[in-house]
């Protein structure tokens, strides 16, 4: 009789690393893997970054958190980000996208602050060779932390007029839900009104805003997923 104990084989693992999500396997690009397994620029010595500009965000979606430390210098009249360090409590996509963002910001002598403000999560994803749809929100995390750190710089350098606060437009007046909250939920996978309501309860107290919500839902789906 053949040996009934089957050892795992390398053949069986050829598929690559896949997340265990229900039936939704996906593959990492080589670039994502490179940045996940050898993350660049994560903060090692907190002590020497006490003076750096700090940005912080948490993702209410999956409960993840991210911190970013920047060093900004003005060279020939251009404010350049010379250093970008980070720490994250998040998945492989969050680690890889922040690592990639740090490279994009610091390459070529440091990205001008003006350009950094124009960066979009899609730009990070492009450099990574793409992320699966339900991981898009992870790349948004790094981008937001960067903006929050730049705001810290503006405040500390007395340029209060340049501080960009994200003014949300109040959509659901009862539950105080803004368009940003809806965007966030869409990024986290709420692609129908039902799922949106399951996540953030929008319109359950004030049904009059539902047409507005549906429009925003379509808009953000189009914006982030092109569908």
């Amino acid at each position: 009789m053949s040996d009934p104990i089957i050892k795992p084989t390398h053949e069986a693992r050829k598929g690559d690393v896949v997340t265990p999500a229900k039936g939704k396997g996906w593959f990492y690009t080589d670039m994502v893997k490179e940045h996940f397994f050898s993350p660049k620029n994560f903060l090692e010595d907190e002590a020497s970054y006490k003076q750096a500009y700090l940005g912080m965000v948490g993702s209410p979606a999956c409960g993840d958190a991210m911190k970013v430390w920047l060093k900004i210098e003005t060279i020939d009249g251009v404010e350049r980000i010379k250093d970008f360090k980070w720490k994250t409590f998040g998945c492989a996509s969050a680690i890889a996208s922040t690592s990639m963002l740090s490279v994009m910001i610091t390459e070529e002598g440091g990205m001008p602050v003006e350009d950094a403000l124009k960066l979009r999560p899609q730009d990070i994803m492009e450099r990574l060779g793409g992320l699966p749809a339900r991981k898009v929100h992870c790349s948004v995390l790094g981008d937001k932390a960067l903006r929050s750190a730049i705001n810290d710089y503006f405040r500390k350098s007395g340029q209060h007029d340049r501080v960009e606060v994200e003014h949300g437009r109040l959509v659901d007046k009862v539950l105080k839900i803004t368009d940003h909250d809806i965007e966030e939920a869409v990024l986290e996978g709420a692609d129908t009104l039902e799922k949106l309501q399951e996540k953030i309860k929008v319109g359950t107290g004030d049904p009059s805003c539902i047409p507005d919500v549906e429009q925003l839902l379509r808009f953000y789906k189009e914006k982030h997923f092109g569908a």
């Binding site: 795992p8 265990p20 996940f36």
Partner: protein
């Protein structure tokens, strides 16, 4: 990569098919390929094989062969039970005759059930077809039999509690709950409620005798016990009527139409036999490995064991580490040849953390950093050593990258 030693520790997700099972199945693909409903010899041969398999399976469950319905797996069996019972006219009529025309049936389940039980029940509830009670569990994931009894009502038609938990390994006191339900029914001279259990994770480790466990319906599948995927069964106690999900040619006593998956059925029978034969020996062998692994993992700072310390499947170790995210940990482990799983929100398609770990009263953060290792027949001391060599480094590396540094009190829901 080639020299990397591999440790597959995700047996709760899938097991390899035992070579003896595969061997038993092979003739039924291309030599005994007949349809059991046909009258010619190759059909009759297939029918005979299915009958024989059914008989062997029934005897392992201490049941009669006509009480075994073959399905496509655990999910279908669960659906057939929890959708089928509340949608059966005779049961509805009986409840309404007694309690009034407006009565809808009441179903009791627990917060740690598999999605295959919870989702169809939530579906029925949403459609107004049932009233649903989802029982809380204690810190170890246990559903107390007295809580089940307290929740019983005149219109309770079904109770569904799993035999052992797939995520945290907790073994539920099914026999006690079964006995309590039995005496509740006796006192009131009613056939209701029926008691269903999902025993997919328990096969191979626990005694599935339906008389000892006092269950009326039991779900089992082959793919968790070294059998093929795509085949399962529902045991239905004699005399219990239930509405089918799949209607057609009338196979499986009209309860599950469709040509029988003959090789699958043969494989299921063989796998079940082998699993039950090695049950005690394998359970004690794995218990030793399980405890060694758990004990050492818990020496890593800021870690807790999920599930029960002793009333626990012999193959399950589930530990949460604060300040790290599980999906990242799983991928670092995989790079070292260790295959495990996590209850982290990041790893689920809905971005929800494990409902089971949250149900035990742990925080989101704890669910986030939960790692499950499920051992199996191929697991040896070396695999345990392998994990113990790699895991502390993975935790340290991720903590090093993590901006959070939570206090131990954050294991508990705040």
């Amino acid at each position: 990569m080639k020299s990397l030693s591999l440790s597959y520790l995700d047996h709760a997700a899938a097991t390899p098919v035992d070579a003896r099972v595969l061997e038993a199945m092979l003739p039924y693909f291309s030599s005994v390929y007949g349809n059991p409903s046909s009258f010619h010899s190759v059909g009759i041969e297939a029918k005979r094989a299915v009958q024989e398999a059914r008989k062997r399976i029934a005897s392992l469950l201490n049941a009669q062969e006509e009480n075994i319905i073959f399905t496509s797996g655990g999910t279908e069996s669960d659906s057939l039970a929890v959708l089928g019972i509340p949608r059966t006219k005779v049961h509805l009529d009986a409840l309404r005759a007694k309690l009034g025309e407006e009565t809808i049936p009441h179903v009791i389940t627990s917060s740690v059930e598999h999605h295959a039980v919870l989702e169809p029940l939530l579906f029925l509830k949403k459609r107004g077809e049932i009233e649903l009670t989802v029982l809380d569990v204690d810190r170890q994931g246990m559903v107390a039999p007295q809580d089940v009894v307290k929740a019983l009502k005149e219109n309770t038609l079904l109770v569904s509690i799993m035999m052992a938990n797939n995520e945290i390994g907790t073994i539920e006191p099914i026999a006690d709950t079964g006995r309590a339900i039995l005496s509740w029914r006796k006192e009131r001279e009613t056939p209701y409620p029926f008691f269903h259990t999902d025993a997919c994770q328990a096969a191979g480790y626990l005694d599935l005798d339906v008389e000892k466990t006092h269950v009326d319906l039991l779900t089992l599948n082959a793919s968790k016990m070294y059998g093929p995927k795509g085949i399962g069964l529902l045991y239905i106690r004699k005399g219990i009527r239930l509405a089918p999900l799949i209607i057609g040619g009338g196979q499986e006593r009209n309860l599950r139409s469709g040509t029988e998956n003959v090789p699958g059925i043969i494989g299921l029978a063989k796998a079940f036999e082998l699993a039950q034969a090695s049950r005690e020996e394998e359970s004690s062998r794995l218990t030793v490995l399980r405890d060694a692994l758990a004990e050492e993992l818990l020496t890593i700072p800021k870690s807790v064991l999920n599930g029960h310390t002793t009333k626990r499947l012999p193959n399950n170790v589930n530990v949460s580490f604060l300040d790290i995210e599980g999906e990242a940990a799983i991928l670092y482990l995989d790079a070292e040849g260790i295959m495990a799983s996590t209850g982290s929100a990041c790893a689920s398609s809905s971005l929800d953390p494990s409902h089971v770990i949250l149900a035990t009263g742990l925080s989101y953060e704890a669910a986030h950093g939960s790692i499950r290792f499920t051992l199996g027949r191929s697991t040896t001391k070396e695999d345990v050593q392998h994990v113990l060599q790699v895991m502390p480094g993975v935790v340290e590396r991720l903590r090093h990258m993590s901006p959070v540094n939570l206090d131990m009190k954050y294991f508990e829901k705040q």
